[in-house]
Amino acid sequence: MSATQQKDSVLSLRGINKTFGAVAALTDIDLDVAAGQVVAVVGDNGAGKSTLVKVLSGVHSPDSGTITFDSKTVDIPSPAAAHRLGIATVFQDLALCENLNVIQNLFLGQELRPLRLNEVAMETRSWELLRQLSAKIPSVRVPVASLSGGQRQTVAIARSLLGDPKIIILDEPTAALGVAQTAEVLNLVERLRENGLGVIMISHNMADVKAVADTVAVLRLGRNNGVFDVNDVSVEDIIAAITGATDNVVSQRRARRKEGLS
């Protein structure tokens, strides 16, 4: 099914390969993301999720394969190129400066009026972004160090929205968070979808995946191991695909469906 490109997809990968020396980190990977769609990418440790994120964010170039963005075939040779295209990435470690406040972090590297910083415009825009995400941050003039994990994730996501991206990639956004903060971040993902962004969310947490994703793409040992609609797949099936009982799962499901039909 993944061989035919979905018509409405903003970003499509076809046959992406990436090797590190003797390690084939990604083999023949296909992936589609549409506007307003949340695609969860799941897989065991070493499955190639981070490598996939790095290919999309311009950190690594793929050895072969095509990337189609907005119906044009594109190269993503650098993080700046990804940024220009409209692919924003929030890495797992967030990369915030703890000594700087929320505004300063949001506009880091893209400050308005370099020789006489326009603090007022930056603060106004910061509030706009945070409101757009319905974020719960009481003040934007406090150092990021004083924010909770969920609030920091919010700041990192808000920052990635500054360049008006079409696709936003979240690497394990809830991995380090407690229950309430996880809910906060999942709300945020929902908000991104409502705003018409395509979201790629790397996750280990099946509950999160079931809660916000539309589609689940499973990677196993650097290969596609099934793309499921989240509504007609059970957590057990996803886990089976992650751990390797895949062929069976997919065929079993097909078999089951056929049985149901006949």
């Binding site: 000594n99 300063q104 370099p114 006489r116 910083l117």
Partner: protein
């Protein structure tokens, strides 16, 4: 009261803190959280001045304070450079040697080779900037820790200084030269000093007022006009008193004005430009800065070059003040005093925290100790020990504040 809340005041968890009271509460709260700002240095200064005044009533005399301001300029300028390198979380231990070298180069070019003074100054500063550039290349390309690079520089450039001075070992600058005149005899006329004070207070009020108006237009909370007025009047009162008191004897030296002007320029660059932001970002989290698209290497390069250039200017001012460049210029406690001034002024050794004004305040503390102990006829051995202890105290305060920030989630 207004019916619509400012955009940044809408969260119900925010306690409204308005007026003078609110401002004071804010400062106390931040200090508790380990964000001490200039509090320790101001407290330290008051204590040190009180003690020294009790020990020797001449200490707070106008004559002595005029001297103190003049003596603080040279090393203060060097400390300004140290603030910049500390902000990116690095260090330059060679500023003393570089300042000595630059004084020697100036003297040789100006006195021995007969170059115009501006050309000699330019050459000395350019040479030092080049030294900073070399440091930055070693740091960026080979990842050698900055304290090792600059420790090597400390020795190497001391050697170069001795070589440049040659067998004479000392070169006198002519007393009638503009440079020496500037450092020793040039004082601001009293009326002009008062004008400076008024301009500073009016400028503070005007910029604050414009900023507040812009914020209100954008629907953000802003300082009230009365708060701004109080702040400006307080500044005016302090500056007028200082000018008046120093004016009892020789007044405000142009060299000190030059130092303060440099502090103001650096303050602007650090707090109001994109470059300044990137300096703080690199000191806070290099990887984050890199990913935000900041050219981290260029930031390090600019900072190392700036630091050695300031060291050069400091060295030139010191030579001008002494009317000579000799083998001991920039040696002894210059290095440590400059670093101590920066740290005492609230610049963190851990990077990402500190202000240009810190160099000014820290330098006044260091110079007060030095001048006070000289007045007591204690020799330099004791001065070294006391300065060392004060530096250690400042570093301990810095470390405790950092710990407190971590435990209050403000690291």
């Amino acid at each position: 009261m207004t019916t619509t809340l400012a955009t940044d005041r809408q969260d119900e968890r925010l306690q409204s803190r308005e007026g003078l009271r609110g401002a004071i509460t804010d400062v106390i709260e931040r200090a508790r959280g380990g964000d001490l700002g200039v509090i320790p240095v101001v407290v330290g200064l008051v204590v040190i001045w009180a003690v020294l005044q009790v020990l020797n009533p001449v200490f707070l005399s106008s004559t002595n304070l005029v001297n103190l301001t003049l003596e603080s300029a040279a090393v203060g300028v060097i400390a300004l450079g140290i603030v910049c390198v500390l902000l990116v979380g690095e260090i330059d231990l060679s500023v003393g040697s570089v300042s000595g070298l630059s004084g020697a180069v100036l003297a040789v070019l100006f006195v021995d080779k007969g170059l115009p003074v501006w050309a000699a100054i330019l050459a000395a500063v350019a040479l030092s900037a080049a030294i900073g550039w070399v440091y930055a290349q070693l740091f960026n390309r080979f990842g050698v820790p900055s304290f090792v690079i600059t420790l090597a520089g400390l020795l190497a450039f001391l050697g170069l200084q001795l070589y440049v001075l040659g067998t004479k070992g000392s070169i006198n600058l002519p007393f009638d030269s503009a440079l020496v005149n500037f450092a020793q005899l040039a004082f601001v006329p009293q009326w002009l000093s008062y004008t400076f004070a008024v301009v500073a207070a009016a400028g503070l009020f005007a910029s604050g007022h414009l900023h507040a108006r812009e914020r209100r237009r954008a629907g953000l909370s802003a300082r009230t006009t009365s708060m701004l007025a109080v702040r400006s009047i307080a500044l005016l009162a302090v500056l007028t008193f200082v000018v008046w008191y120093l004016g009892q004897t020789r007044g405000v030296g142009w060299m000190f004005v030059l130092f303060v002007a440099m502090v103001l320029v650096m303050h602007y660059l650090l707090s109001r430009t994109k470059w300044g932001r990137s300096v703080y970002a690199v000191g806070g989290n290099v990887e984050a800065a890199r990913r935000a698209g900041i050219n981290v290497r260029a930031v390090y390069t600019s900072v190392f070059m700036l630091c050695s250039s300031f060291a050069a200017v400091g060295g030139i001012l010191a030579a001008a003040r002494l009317a000579a460049a000799n083998q001991s210029s920039g040696a002894g406690d210059v290095n440590l005093n400059a670093i101590a001034a920066a740290v005492i002024g609230g610049t963190s050794l851990f990077g990402g925290r500190g202000t240009a004004f810190g160099a000014l305040l820290g330098m006044i503390v260091i110079q007060s100790i030095s001048s006070g102990l000289t007045l007591l006829n204690l020799d330099s051995s004791i001065r070294f020990v006391v300065t060392g202890v004060v530096l250690l105290l400042a570093v301990v305060v810095d470390s405790i504040a950092r710990k407190s920030r971590t435990s209050h989630g403000r690291a």
